[in-house]
Point group: C2
Amino acid sequence: MDSELSRFDFHALRQFTSAVFTHCGLSTTDAAQATDVLLRADLRGVDSHGIARLPVYFSDLINGTTNPTPNLRVVCETPSTATVDGDGGLGLVVGPRANELAMKKALDVGSGWVAVRGSTHYGIAGYYTLQAVEKDLIGWAMTNGTRTQTPLWGADMMLGTNPISVSFPALEQDDIIIDMSTSVVTAGRMDLAMLRNESVPAGWLVEPDGQPTSDPSALLRGGPLLPLGAERAHGGHKGYCLAAMVDIFSGVLSGANWGPFVPSFTVPKNAYTPPVGVGTGHLFGAMRVEAFRPAEEFKKSVDHWIRVMKGTKPSPGATGPLVPGEPEREEEEHRRNKGIPLLTRVVDRLREVSEQSGIPLPAPISEE
Amino acid sequence: MDSELSRFDFHALRQFTSAVFTHCGLSTTDAAQATDVLLRADLRGVDSHGIARLPVYFSDLINGTTNPTPNLRVVCETPSTATVDGDGGLGLVVGPRANELAMKKALDVGSGWVAVRGSTHYGIAGYYTLQAVEKDLIGWAMTNGTRTQTPLWGADMMLGTNPISVSFPALEQDDIIIDMSTSVVTAGRMDLAMLRNESVPAGWLVEPDGQPTSDPSALLRGGPLLPLGAERAHGGHKGYCLAAMVDIFSGVLSGANWGPFVPSFTVPKNAYTPPVGVGTGHLFGAMRVEAFRPAEEFKKSVDHWIRVMKGTKPSPGATGPLVPGEPEREEEEHRRNKGIPLLTRVVDRLREVSEQSGIPLPAPISEE
């Protein structure tokens, strides 16, 4: 069955992925970096953004859509900002370098903001802000993406799911890692529902004519995802505002494409043409905690904040609030030990990559 | 009836408000500044944050809770950041000064970020980012506030409605002004529903025990507002993440109070004690457009973005997407000309301020 799972050793998948990227022409350093970003998604349970996407990265590299050896250029710079052109490189390589620059600027002058154009899909936004908290920085990451989401009061795919991640370092507690799309849910949730032959709640997406639906396959017919809040009475204008914000920071500020012009990462390729900018866009930010307050003081306060929020009286049937990043952290611990579960259809597609590249796919450690 | 309206001339209300602030001991400059912030809310149709709040600012100034002559101190500073202690001053005075500092830093080094502690309620977040776009800056403003919102899976007031505003300058189109709370709706919407004796949609707030309700007066019994998304299946964890983010930036980064410890602006005063920081907190940010891309190019692109989004196929029964800030801008034009509508109960409370201060309340220009 399509929804069957096999479990793979994390390190074996790393070796495979890195070898595939090297096969595509990336340097060993870049291949390792790209693999690190991509597989962090699998570790953290964000299956839609991990190795399941390797076949798309692979074909885009092989067919020349993505540049395996980009020459990144800083096209504009001030002490606390820069704009970087990614030269059509893999987002998984361009993103980490731009993020490094943002973090360096934060260490130098208190905060750093790097807008990126000429990039491609960059993995999970949370990867970048996880780097920041290790340096006592507050991390920011945004990206625009393939059109799937409608603005409130519209009925067409005009924006990506446009995620935003912001992370804060804690002292003894786990760091706070926010990483969220600005639509109610992502397209990956529709895929999963289709795979399981399930309907979805009203308010996740609409039919192509804008009528309400609980049929996840409406997405395949052009039915757009709804913004967080879904409808006016429940704050759908706010989700749209957030998606717009991420799009303008990622695409318009950097000179990348924006809205429906963002190059499609998924199939079918249905971006508006001609392009209005260069490639896909991101924004990375970093703020040095010590630039505002002694880091130890801040991190102790974050610990206290976490304890207070987790101590909130639970709602009926719940065990109380979580802290942003908590479910992903637990998943990461589990998967590092127990392996990465992959759907049979994902394994089948990886096998095709293996055949085309000549890189052997590791055997599963268990079937479920 | 309580829901009756009178309309007042904008300039007459300005004079009244400014005279009241001066009566409370503010300098004429500070009184004018505070009035400018406060009444911008009335102009933009955010009635809950405008002159309706003057009685609270007034009593907090008269009884010594708020310092009429604060001595602002920069307690930490780098080229692109600062932390400011507002010395217990009026947020309407402390906020604009801190925002000025953020904008100055952005003009100097590309971006500027100022965290504020020791402040009080600062009016609408949008006021601050409206200042930024006039200077070809992208503006950011956040604040924490009186506890009213529950984290997802909790059933207690632990966070404020914690608004965020981000604004982008356009060229020929109107600027994009995002200004939104991170709860589904604000407490002001419950007040209005109670006044009109109406029920509210499920998903706005819950009873104090966490059970669903459509009774707006649950708020008065301690029933908390829900985060944007309302429930897990519709992204309530994302609204909670945003409220958390705003709280940590505003309260924890600056050394102000956070979460349920933020001093109550409303009655009853029910903040947790003892305090965990100094007063209420804000974060202001500014990014110079030219630090990323030529401003004219950026603003032309924003114009294009607006035209494309407004051209989206409308959803059934709608006329198509709006641009963030559009409804408030239209309201502002209308109210500048036609006057500010105030509810009878608001006028009654302003009359009390008038009697206590000896400042005459202007007569309405019309009754409705």
